[in-house]
């Protein structure tokens, strides 16, 4: 009679530990780190600025399409590493329902121009000299990206470099 409680407790602990091992061992590694943000589920703050060519750009002009809003800097190595993936993503969706919009974070338009001359992009890049666009989105440091829905809702925040496959998976998650 005295051994029963101990056996029951030991059995319960074993079940819990086995469950934890099963969960942790079978989790797939995150290719993109989706993070929390108070903006998720809300309409994204408006972004207004001029592209590198001086053309006025507004985030609300992209309504009707998914938008990858990406904050980056040329001095940021992960930003440079994800750049080809953003090009790939934009190419995959050039006739479709997704676009890319970049915002410069703590960098100069001239440095960015030099960078994109070597790796041309098809999307607008907005300067944010006083960091207020980054603040409006709660960006702590590049690279950070937001996936916005066609209605302008903030769907996901991704901290760290993104890749085309990960972005496509997030869009599939929403459109399924």
């Amino acid at each position: 009679m005295k051994r029963r409680p101990a056996l029951v407790i030991a059995g319960a602990v074993a079940v819990v530990v086995a469950g934890l091992v099963a969960v942790l061992a079978t989790r797939s590694p995150a290719l993109t780190k989706v993070a929390e943000s108070p903006l998720i589920g809300n309409i994204a703050p408006e972004v207004r600025g001029n592209g590198l060519d001086g053309t006025p750009v507004r985030l609300s002009d992209f309504r009707g399409k998914f938008v990858v809003l990406n904050f980056f800097a040329t001095w940021c190595i992960p930003c440079r590493q994800e750049h080809p993936e953003l090009i790939k993503f934009a190419e995959q969706h050039k006739d479709g329902n997704a676009r890319v919009l970049q915002v410069i974070f703590d960098d100069t338009p001239s440095a960015v121009r030099d960078f994109v001359e070597r790796q041309p992009v098809s999307w607008p890049i907005i300067d944010d000299p006083d960091g207020q666009v980054a603040l409006d989105f709660g960006v702590r440091g590049p690279p950070e990206s937001f996936l916005l829905g066609p209605d302008g809702t903030v769907l996901f925040k991704i901290v760290g470099r993104v890749d085309a496959a990960g972005l496509n998976r997030l869009i599939d998650q929403v459109t399924r």
């Binding site: 190595i77 703590d106 207020q132 603040l135 702590r140 440091g141």
Partner: protein, 292 residues
């Protein structure tokens, strides 16, 4: 009557503390002073150990600018903090309000402690332990602790207890590199500190710790670490790049940066990073020749 005198004294202490705590500071302050005061209670978004008032990181400057604009627009401290929390999350707030009803979070634990200590002293003096007194003391302690814990600002992400597997320096460096790639700079800083605790001359840890500190806006501190890395191994290319960037971008010394960028290119393997540094070298040379 004399029996009630100690309780009356305690009551006066509590009322006095509540009155002082909720009144707040009525001294007028300039917009700049108020901006700095509010900024001291907000965490730097990038370098979370510093306040937005102390840090020179780009995100901290943006926060100070936003605070100033809100101050000029006539928003209250609470509104300003709420607007920042609505963007960054509650953990951006370092300290709760110190006036008004929120100020009770500072006062109640003290007042509660005074009441509890006084009641305990009285009861012990009578040598009659009472479950009522004990329960009251426990209740005050719990409420005070809850108020302090709830109102003292969010725990930092890096203060949370997490499990970790004992790792060698080699794979901890790999962990740190991945943390940087994932934007987890605070975690990377901790990893590098753990490496340097065992191997103070680890070149990669010194160089990258310095770079993270530079990203937090502390260029002089960053140079200290990076110079140690260079002293340990002058051929380690990343340290030369980091030093070049600090001299060029932060210290406005393109002439000083040029030999650092050249040292990187001399020792680094060709690749993506080479192209980035070549670009910086070109800009530094242009800036240096423009200045001369």
């Amino acid at each position: 009557m004399r029996r009630w005198l100690p309780w009356l004294a305690l009551l006066l202490v509590v009322i006095g503390a509540l009155f002082v705590g909720t009144r707040g500071d009525d001294a007028p302050e300039t917009a700049a002073e108020r901006t700095e005061r509010v900024a001291k209670g907000v965490r730097c978004p990038t370098c979370q150990k510093l306040s937005a008032a102390e840090s020179d990181a780009a995100a901290a400057k943006a926060v100070r600018l936003a605070i100033r604009r809100d101050v000029d627009a006539g928003r209250s401290d609470s509104e300003i903090r709420a607007r920042l929390a609505a963007r960054y999350g509650r953990d951006i707030i370092l300290t709760p309000d110190s006036s008004g009803v929120s100020g009770l979070v500072w006062v109640l634990p003290v007042a509660g402690g005074v009441v509890a200590a006084g009641a305990l002293a009285l009861r012990i003096g009578r040598r009659r332990p009472s479950w009522v007194v004990g329960g009251g003391i426990a209740a005050v302690a719990v409420i005070a602790g809850f108020l302090v814990a709830n109102g003292a600002g969010q725990r930092l992400p890096d203060d949370a207890i997490t499990g970790s597997i004992e790792q060698t320096s080699g794979n901890r460096l790999a962990v740190a590199r991945q943390q940087i790639a994932d934007g987890e700079l605070v975690e990377a800083l901790k990893t590098y500190d753990s490496i340097l605790g065992e191997d103070p001359e680890n070149v990669e840890a010194l160089a990258y710790r310095g770079w993270i500190v530079r990203l937090a806006g502390l260029s002089d501190d960053a140079l200290g670490y990076i110079d140690r890395a260079i002293a340990a191994d002058p051929t380690y290319p990343d340290a030369r790049f980091f030093k070049g960037m600090i001299l060029f971008r932060d210290k406005n010394d393109p002439a000083g940066a040029i030999p650092e960028f050249r040292a990187f290119l001399e020792h680094a393997s060709p690749g993506e990073r080479t192209a980035a540094v070549e670009e910086q070298l070109r800009q530094a040379e242009a800036a240096a020749s423009g200045a001369s």
